[in-house]
């Protein structure tokens, strides 16, 4: 089975970590993978994208237009940049965070409404799995790392569930994070319990 995942968001959200954990999980299971992050510059808050290609032995780093089985977006406006990539019938995981550029915050530039973005995802023929950032759980009174929660949702609700068991991913999380293992695992596990009703 092949699976191509396209990630979008802004720098500082930790979206690349999701891709790295999945790439490591794939490798630990003998599934060929190519992970291609585009970090841009050193600054935070810029556009970040990444592409994970699982399952093919020989594969180019870029997913073709309309070729992504799954899109993972952690920012409302940046989701739109994945529209040319998502497959008809693909899955679109969207965490509804808004990182407004300064011009938007000052009311000098437009920013798309969530409803508009959802409509565009629908028009592209994708299945939306929406995550309301307000629903991110707390761990010891602090909101958990959104990226690990999203990772949990992915492994639980998207086509990735046919490829990975939660335990495969947990092993990588344990090995990867020397600090904050517990809170990261907690976030991941909460994501695993995110229910389809909420996702509707």
């Amino acid at each position: 089975m092949n699976c191509d995942i396209y990630f979008t968001g802004v720098g500082g959200q930790g979206i690349l970590t999701i891709g790295e954990v999945l790439a490591e999980t794939a490798v630990s299971m003998g599934i060929p993978s190519n992970f291609y992050p585009s970090k841009g510059m050193a600054q935070r808050g810029g556009f970040v994208k990444a592409q994970l290609r699982l399952g093919r032995e020989h594969v180019g780093p870029n997913i073709p237009p309309r070729g992504a089985d799954i899109v993972v977006s952690m920012e409302v406006s940046e989701s739109l940049k994945a529209l040319p990539l998502i497959k008809e019938g693909g899955e679109f995981v969207l965490l509804g965070n808004v990182w407004a550029p300064t011009a938007v915050a000052l009311g000098k530039a437009p920013y798309p409404a969530l409803e508009q973005v959802k409509e565009q995802i629908h028009l592209a023929g994708a299945r939306l799995i929406y995550i309301d950032p307000a629903q991110l759980p707390l761990y010891q009174d602090e909101t958990v790392r959104a990226n690990l929660f999203v990772l949990g949702v992915l492994v639980h609700l998207s086509a990735l569930k046919h490829m990975f068991q939660p335990s495969d991913v947990e092993r990588v999380i344990r090995a990867r994070f020397s600090r904050e293992v517990e809170s990261n695992l907690f976030a991941f596990r909460c994501g695993l319990e995110y229910s389809v009703e909420e996702a509707a």
Binding site: A42, Q43, R44, G45, R56, H58, P64, A103, Q116
Partner: protein
Amino acid sequence: MKKLITGNEAVAYGALRAGVKVACGYPGTPSTGCLASLLLMDLKDTYVEWSVNEKVAVEIAAGVAWAGHRALCTMKMSGVNVAYDSLISVAYSGCDGGMVIYVADDPGANAGMCEQDTRGFAIMSDMPMLEPKSVAEAYWLTQFAFELSEQIKGPVFLRSVTAIADSQAEVEIEEPAPVSQKPPLLVRDIARYTKAGSVIAMTQHRQLIERLELAEKIIAQAGINQLRLAKEAGLGIIACGVAAAYLEEGFEIAQAYGFRPETASILEIKASHPFPSKEVSQLLDRCPTVLVLEELEAYIEKSVYVMAQKLGYRGRIVGKLDGTLSRIGEYGVKQVVQGISAALKLDLPETLFNAGQEGLKLAAARPITVCAGCPHRGTYMAINQAIKRLKLKKNEVMVTGDIGCTILGMNPPFDTVWNEISMGASVSLAQGYVHAGVQTPVIATIGDSTFFHGGIPGLINAVQHQVNMTLIIMDNRWTAMTGMQVNPGTPCYDGLKGYQQVDIASIVPALGVNHFVIVDPFKLEETSTAIQNALVMPGVKVILARQECAIQAQRRGEKEGVIKITPENCNKCKLCIIVTGCPALSLGSDAIQIDPELCYGCGMCVQTCNKEALHKELAA
């Protein structure tokens, strides 16, 4: 051992497997990760350094190779422009130890520079060039590059592109080879190592061409370029470098529209220079139509036309020159399918690769701006304030820009910087504006690493010719934009060792600059007054705005201060956001809000607020 590594790391591991003795280079996206990974390894027998610029790096590598040892030299494509003067000369002389120039091109301009195709330099310098199509290939081709270099006795290019340099994939890595400890060669041979005299130079030119011919034979013998001829006289496909990685997938798609992959003959090019004439002629012999897939320039394709003419080929060549494919941007599955479709006249639905364009237009523009707490913010604000106080308008005062985070002053809210050419160019470009007769003050801005790299000659020129201009060196102590490398001016912070710092503050006066001031860009009044004073003085004035990159300081756990908000005083005028554009600031329901994680406590917002709503307390 199997390991998940990037393409850049694959080159590093490949070089270690080849027993590389010296690795040097200058940072540049997307090549940086190669040398950066070697530096992290703390190697015992391999010397690794970030050099001051690419030309210096190539010259160091040449010294190593002339002394009979193996050297790796890394850079981005722009670096080859800087290094080329030396590189062509070294190519003429040849070398004894293996010398590999690793260059990473950036089709698609992900890092925002020219989409330069460095294969052109291989052609110009008659140097062989190897081009991996994947991370795994980068590993073994690096090793082959060293072998090839020693066999032909000349330097060899290894070229990758962003998509490979930054990709992570699993590679089987073997133990590094022991580094040779043989005594260095000291060969005095002026016929080989100088160019003085036409006989010497022309003999070297002849030998250079002979080396390239030898390279073609060695590459063919090693079977580097892979030719798979089909039984049928079907479509011939030539795919160069990363383009070959998309064939399989493209075939699957094209199959649905009538293409039969088993009828296609394929030449995968992993050594793009010298031109693989033997393999191409076999392909032309078999195939009535040939498709050439290569990113950027039509170098291979043009040579295919020449070969076709020589052989009296009567078939059709599909690629860029017939208008099917573009010279711009990355190639992928889409170009494979479009090429096949044009070659075989398949009927592709228009929407096959085209969707979502309407939605894209709705996306918010996200201009990059400097980080929260960036010292450059203070400098831009001070320049703007100085211009205003001189009763000038921003569009009357030329501020030339340079490479690095310093260029971000081009964007709102500052709109300070006007232009950018290449490393160091801001200093000389400014002089051109002065000579052209600009009467208002002319300012040049430059980062510390860029000043060392290429800014110093321009400054000497300005001093010699007594040009009326102000140079502002924005010294954040690091080569920041490329991900924090040390440069000669970087102080030996905790843990940094093995070099001596070279202080810009002692270089500038030594160059004959009479008016030289050091300021702290976090002090707005001090900095803008210094700039204002300089702008009205004649001659060359240099201001060194010195304050460490906020990202680096915070990595060591340091903060400049803590900002306290007095909500009663805040009338939500948003002035602080408008002037600083700091990403840590946002508008709350009753007052401005500061994200404590992002905020570095630089105090620039405090200095813009005129309602006493913000106060800076020194960090504990």
